[in-house]
């Protein structure tokens, strides 16, 4: 499974990355987490409101920082 965090490096994006890592380690899954900072690449993915999170290439969250619990249920799906 691959999780990508899309965000220019503001505090919310860092928080999202931290929570995603928490959620992944809670599930004990082997997850690749990558943080994309490059705004051109973010825009190419049709994300205009950061922070955003994608799971296996699909954008599931844009513009907010969900709780670890919400992330857990998103990852499980």
């Amino acid at each position: 499974m691959k999780i990508e965090i899309l965000g220019s490096g503001c505090s919310k994006c860092k928080e999202l990355e931290k929570r995603a890592k928490d959620a992944a380690s809670k599930l004990g899954l082997k997850v690749d987490i990558e943080h994309i900072y490059d705004m051109d690449k973010i825009i190419e993915r049709n994300v205009f409101v950061t922070p955003a999170l994608s799971i296996d290439g699909k954008i599931v969250i844009s513009g907010k920082v969900p709780s670890v619990d919400e992330l857990l249920s998103l990852i499980k799906k």
């Binding site: 965000g7 220019s8 503001c10 505090s11 919310k12 994006c13 705004m39 051109d40 973010i42 825009i43 190419e44 049709n46 994300v47 205009f48 409101v49 950061t50 922070p51 844009s62 513009g63 907010k64």
Partner: protein, 346 residues
């Protein structure tokens, strides 16, 4: 020099400020900021800023969006890139980029309740003019080269809730007005309680529970991130009043001369205050005898051309454009300050 009185001056300013402004001005402002950043569907804005939208439509919408969105760079930078590359182009994107930090609604409301509504409304008026001029000029003299891969803005499927949003923001702003404009205590408190009850009803009728939770979380987030800076800002503005003899302020920025207008703008470039802190600072300067023209020049320029903001915008638009951008803001701020000074003292 005595050290203790200096600290005391800082604490006095803080005490005075917290007592008179926190409950009725700052608290509603934080709730409004939280609601703006969670409840307004931002992706929707882009659909009105497509490639084919004419200038008379794209500029006002870009500026309006800048006014409505709160101040987080997480929001501003990707939307800027989206408007520029996928939509209406560099001009409206620049207009948006200027308005977002300079004139978001929260800063305006805060200016109005702390300093005065004539200053607040003029701040909006001038910012709209600045944004339009900056956008048009930069798009004209330093246009984007043909963009190789235009970005598809896509469709935003989120449903809009215009009626609920209008009611909610209308009531929130009324709360702020009532709190700062009505002096009679019993009237003020009873009206406020009714209005807060109305907020409850509006939220229940028009919004999901998750939206409400997000709103509260975001509001608390703003309190946590901006609150400390405001407290520090006010503390130091008190110290500043104590240390700086008001003759100096009166002598250098107490009139409407070009020099007096230029000094606060230059100060704004060097002194970096986090967003909203420019307002108590400006208020302190005003109390020490700064004239209204320089005050306006300061408020219009400080949030936009302080060094850190300039550096982050430079990354987005490059060296040449940032020089033009900053230069224009300096000149426009001085001119606007002059006009405001003449109009408000005549």
């Amino acid at each position: 020099m005595e050290f203790l009185p200096i600290i005391e001056a800082g604490f006095n300013a803080l005490k005075d400020y917290l007592l008179s402004h926190t409950l009725f001005c700052l608290v509603p402002a934080f709730f409004i900021a939280g609601a703006m950043s969670t409840l307004i569907p931002k992706g929707k804005l882009l659909q009105h800023l497509g490639k084919d939208s004419p200038k008379y439509k794209s500029y006002p919408i870009a500026i309006g969006s800048g006014l409505l969105l709160a101040t987080c760079s997480c929001t501003v930078i990707p939307l800027f890139a989206g408007i520029r590359k996928g939509g209406a182009g560099l001009g409206p994107a620049m207009a948006f980029l200027y308005t977002a930090p300079a004139t978001n609604i929260v800063a305006i409301l805060y200016t109005g309740s702390l300093i005065g509504w004539d200053v607040a409304f003029s701040r909006i008026g001038f910012s709209i003019i600045f944004a339009t001029v900056v956008g048009l000029v930069i798009a004209k003299i330093l246009p984007d080269k043909q963009i190789s891969t235009p970005v598809d803005l896509g469709k935003d499927s989120s449903k809009s809730n215009t009626k609920g949003l209008l009611l909610l923001f209308g009531t929130l702003i009324t709360i702020l007005f009532v709190g700062t404009r009505i002096d009679e205590a019993w009237l003020k408190y009873s009206v406020e309680i009714i209005l807060i009850g109305m907020i409850g009803l509006i939220v229940k009728r028009y919004f999901q529970k998750s939206e409400f939770v997000d709103w509260m979380k975001e509001t608390f987030g703003f309190v946590k991130t901006i609150g400390p800076y405001l407290i520090i800002g006010v503390f130091f503005s008190g110290i500043l009043i104590y240390l700086l003899p008001s003759e100096i302020i009166g002598e250098y920025v107490g009139n409407n001369s070009i020099l007096a207008l230029f000094i606060p703008v230059a100060f704004g470039v060097v002194a970096y205050f986090p967003t909203l802190v420019e307002v108590p600072m400006a208020n302190a300067f005003l109390q020490m005898g700064m004239a209204r023209g320089p005050l306006m020049a300061y408020l219009l320029s400080d949030p936009v051309i302080s060094l850190p903001s300039i550096l982050s915008v430079r990354k987005l638009i490059g060296n040449k454009r940032i020089l033009v951008y900053a230069g224009m803001i300096v000149v426009l701020s001085v001119v606007a300050g002059y006009v405001f000074g003449v109009l408000s003292t005549s």
